[in-house]
């Protein structure tokens, strides 16, 4: 598997280099298009599907009865309505924190076991990234529809909005600093304008995503971690409330988008 992915990475790299000299308004567009036609993220979906139905953990149970918000075992369309409030945990949860809840409650993993190696590397696919890719893909073709019903959903959404505009750290950055205008780039990296309905919808609809530069699927938690890293802030806690709040805000803004996950990115 690492060999195959190494090959894909090489292809992606060639595309990127070829296009860096292209001088178009969006120098990466062709490379992305080439990747999207043959989505390497499907490998993660397949592996996630296998892991989902496999009996695992101390309780030797599959995840088939995990409730992602639409009832135990109902995956179709569940991701389209996440993050949302769950009564059993009394928390708003995104797909990842919910998945870990099920790994702990249904499969008997300890929390630490469940979140171990949550971010994959070039040499090691992460179980969570595979599972999230699979779960998200079960909402493909459906419309993002993150609910605002429970008080905690309102609270979480507003917290996400607050964080989106909150400037901090040695660079004085907030999310809005880089994601508040059209057609902006950090070096050659395109930055979606997340205050624009269409662009935020495109973002919400395409995570988790396969990243050519990393040769792996990244979940939203992982993507946010990388943003925060680049902002020179400390490591963003995995499954932290802050991470979930930002995702609530972004996905809710993306309501109406047709989900196509995993997406393919530079």
């Amino acid at each position: 598997m690492p060999k195959l992915r190494g090959g894909l990475a090489a292809v992606a790299f060639v595309c990127l280099v070829a296009n860096a000299h292209g001088q178009s308004a969006d120098p990466m567009a062709v490379g992305r298009q080439m990747l999207a036609e043959d989505n390497p993220g499907e490998l993660w979906v397949e592996r996630g599907k296998m892991l989902f139905y496999q009996k695992r953990g101390p309780k030797n149970t599959s995840l088939e009865t995990c409730d992602f918000g639409l009832g135990p075992g109902k995956l179709e369309g569940a991701y389209a309505q996440l993050p949302r409030y769950f009564a059993d945990t009394d928390k708003v949860q995104d797909v990842e924190s919910r998945l870990v809840t099920c790994m702990v409650n249904l499969q008997g993993f300890t929390y630490q076991q469940a979140i171990k190696d949550h971010f994959g590397t070039l040499d090691r696919m992460s179980d969570i990234e595979g599972l999230v890719a699979f779960i998200a893909s079960r909402s493909n073709g459906m419309t993002m529809n993150v609910p605002l019903i429970h008080q905690k959903e309102y609270d979480t959404y507003k917290a996400g909005e607050y964080i989106f505009y909150r400037r901090n750290g040695p660079t004085d950055f907030a999310c809005i600093t880089c994601h508040g205008d059209d057609n902006k780039r950090i070096r050659l990296q395109d930055l979606p304008n997340m205050t624009d309905r269409k662009q935020i919808q495109a973002v919400a609809a395409s995570w988790p995503a396969y990243l050519g530069t990393k040769s792996t699927v990244l979940t939203m938690q992982n993507r946010l971690y990388e943003c925060i890293w680049q902002m020179r802030l400390p490591d963003l806690g995995y499954l932290s409330d802050m991470s979930v709040a930002l995702t609530s805000y972004l996905n809710r803004q993306g309501n109406g988008a047709v989900i196509q996950a995993p997406g393919v990115k530079r």
Binding site: Y165, R166, R167, D172, R185, I186, L188
Partner: protein, 212 residues
């Protein structure tokens, strides 16, 4: 019109809450709970690094939801704090070595944290090319900020131009409160000497920035 709407919502919102309908929390509540949330998100790292996520007064002012406009008073406060933060190289020389500045301008290194550990870098980069075009021959440059190609050719190298350039890099908010540009000197990301090199890279007629 807007006032009437506000009055209406302030009357109706509590009624809805009382009736058990969920609604958006007020600003003060959101601030309080979210600040706590941000603190907890970084609980895995040392207090020294965690401090980075704590806002100073200017950052607080500059964090308006929806990028709402600053009041005149707020803008004045941010500019005043920025101005007070600026220090100059001990040598008094605001224009350093443009070649050293070139290296700094294209470096995005420094200060990043992974796994609780601070990035090992010889020196912090000035991060310029992340957001600005500088040398017109260099393709790999961002566009979050305006192009700085020809910066010195346009402005000249008068004492006033040099001072403005130095101070703008040291703390951009002295000139444009809450602009997107990091306060590179005030935050300690760059030393006064490093900034003087970047000034030279922008101003010096021999610098690629000012070559056609």
């Amino acid at each position: 019109m807007r006032k009437a709407w506000l009055a209406w919502t302030t009357v109706v919102a509590p009624v809805l809450v009382a009736a058990g309908c969920a609604s958006y929390p007020d600003e003060a509540t959101t601030r309080q709970t979210t600040e706590k949330m941000v603190g907890e998100a970084y609980s895995g790292v040392s207090p020294a690094l965690r401090k980075r996520a704590v806002q100073d007064r200017s950052q607080q002012i500059c964090s308006k939801i929806g990028n709402a406009k600053l009041t005149q008073q707020e803008a004045a406060e941010v500019a005043k704090l920025a101005r007070a933060s600026i220090t100059y190289p001990a040598s008094g020389k605001l224009v350093g070595d443009w070649k050293a500045g070139a290296k700094l301008a294209y470096s995005g290194a420094g200060q990043r944290i992974r796994g609780g550990k601070l990035e090992k870098a010889k020196e912090n980069g000035a991060l310029c090319s992340n957001c600005h075009v500088l040398d017109p021959k260099e393709v790999n440059a961002g566009n979050l900020g305006p192009s700085l190609t020809g910066f010195g050719a346009q402005r000249g190298n008068s004492e006033a131009a040099v001072k403005y350039t130095y101070e703008k890099i040291y703390n951009a908010w002295a000139y444009s409160p809450c602009s997107n540009m990091p306060r590179l000197g005030s935050s300690g990301h760059l030393t006064p000497e490093q900034i003087s090199h970047v000034v030279a890279y922008l101003i010096d007629p021999a610098s690629p920035v000012n070559k056609k």
